[in-house]
């Protein structure tokens, strides 16, 4: 076998071994985390009305709080606002098996409830709504004026 060809094969083999090892280290970390969940947790953090996870992040980034200060905490995030779950909390829960997302409304009974959630930037939405109403009014006014003058 030529030297150049042998070097290429060695390089590819090295690359595959490196990739395989990295993958397994990642897997091991995840497995370790799952095993950690079988032990008593240091604590449980329950966030009812988790919004985008802002409280979770605040506590996680503040070691002085004494909350979420180790990997052995379990977190339960309750959020029924579909926007928050879609754009923020599902991603957060997928990063860590100790975070559990409950996409339901906390209530006093099991049921289906109507919730009323704020849309993003509601002021802008309201302005747009009024703007379109105004535009519609102008079109109707012009159309009526035009048909009236036609009839006259």
């Amino acid at each position: 076998m030529k030297k150049g060809k042998r070097t290429s094969i060695q390089f590819i083999a090295f690359f595959f071994i490196l990739a395989w090892t990295s993958f397994n280290v990642g897997q091991m970390k995840r497995t370790k985390k799952y095993f950690a969940m079988m032990e008593p947790p240091d604590g449980i953090f329950i966030d009812v009305g988790a919004n985008c996870g802002n409280s979770y992040w605040k506590l996680k980034k503040d070691p002085k709080s004494g909350i979420l200060d180790s990997d052995k905490w379990e977190t339960y995030l309750w959020e029924c606002n579909p926007q928050m779950n879609t754009f923020f909390l599902r991603d957060l829960a997928n990063t860590d098996p100790s975070i559990h997302l409950i996409e339901k409304a906390a209530s006093t009974e099991v049921s289906f409830s109507n919730i009323f959630y704020r849309i993003s930037n509601p002021n802008l939405q309201a302005k747009l709504y009024h703007f379109w109403n105004f535009l519609e009014w102008i079109v109707v006014f012009l159309f009526n004026s035009w048909t009236r003058s036609d009839n006259g």
């Binding site: 240091d42 449980i44 605040k58 906390a106 209530s107 009323f116 704020r118 509601p122």
Partner: protein
């Protein structure tokens, strides 16, 4: 309808120092001042869920259970149920409770406003009566 995170205010950044960013909250009360778009969701008996959690995951006094409730008015009914005489003592396992009282989401002078305002005064004593200890309660952080 939001199709992308950037359509939220603050360009969709989840700000840990803000209770409102990037979006407002959701409430079970349609008459609330902050009520917005309506959607039907599954609701769960929180007290029952919490009982089950304590039964299966609570390992003893050295373990911390921290509860944060910012439920836009629903906190009153939930916590009243958990501190009732015939309720379990699961709530007593809570080491620290953070909550925001939401009487101000209702119009002043309405029955809801008065009831939720009264709850602010009665809840700490109801907890003490139930658990025989003072509640470590904090406001919004």
């Amino acid at each position: 309808m939001i199709t992308d995170k950037s359509q939220f205010s603050e360009k969709g950044v989840c700000d840990p120092n803000s209770a409102y960013s990037p979006s407002g909250a959701s409430t079970l009360y349609g008459e609330a001042k902050r009520a917005g778009s309506q959607v039907t969701v599954e609701a769960v008996d929180f007290a029952q869920w919490f009982d089950d959690l304590v039964r299966t995951r609570y390992w003893g006094e050295e373990m911390k259970i921290v509860l944060k409730i910012d439920a836009e008015g629903a906190e009153k009914a939930i916590l009243e149920k958990m501190t009732q005489k015939d309720a379990s003592d699961a709530i007593c396992k809570v080491k620290k409770l953070w909550m925001e009282y939401h009487y101000n989401i209702f119009k002043e002078g309405t029955a809801e406003y008065d009831e939720h305002l009264l709850f602010k005064d009665t809840f700490p004593s109801a907890f003490e009566k139930k658990c025989g200890k003072k509640l470590n309660i904090g406001g919004w952080f």
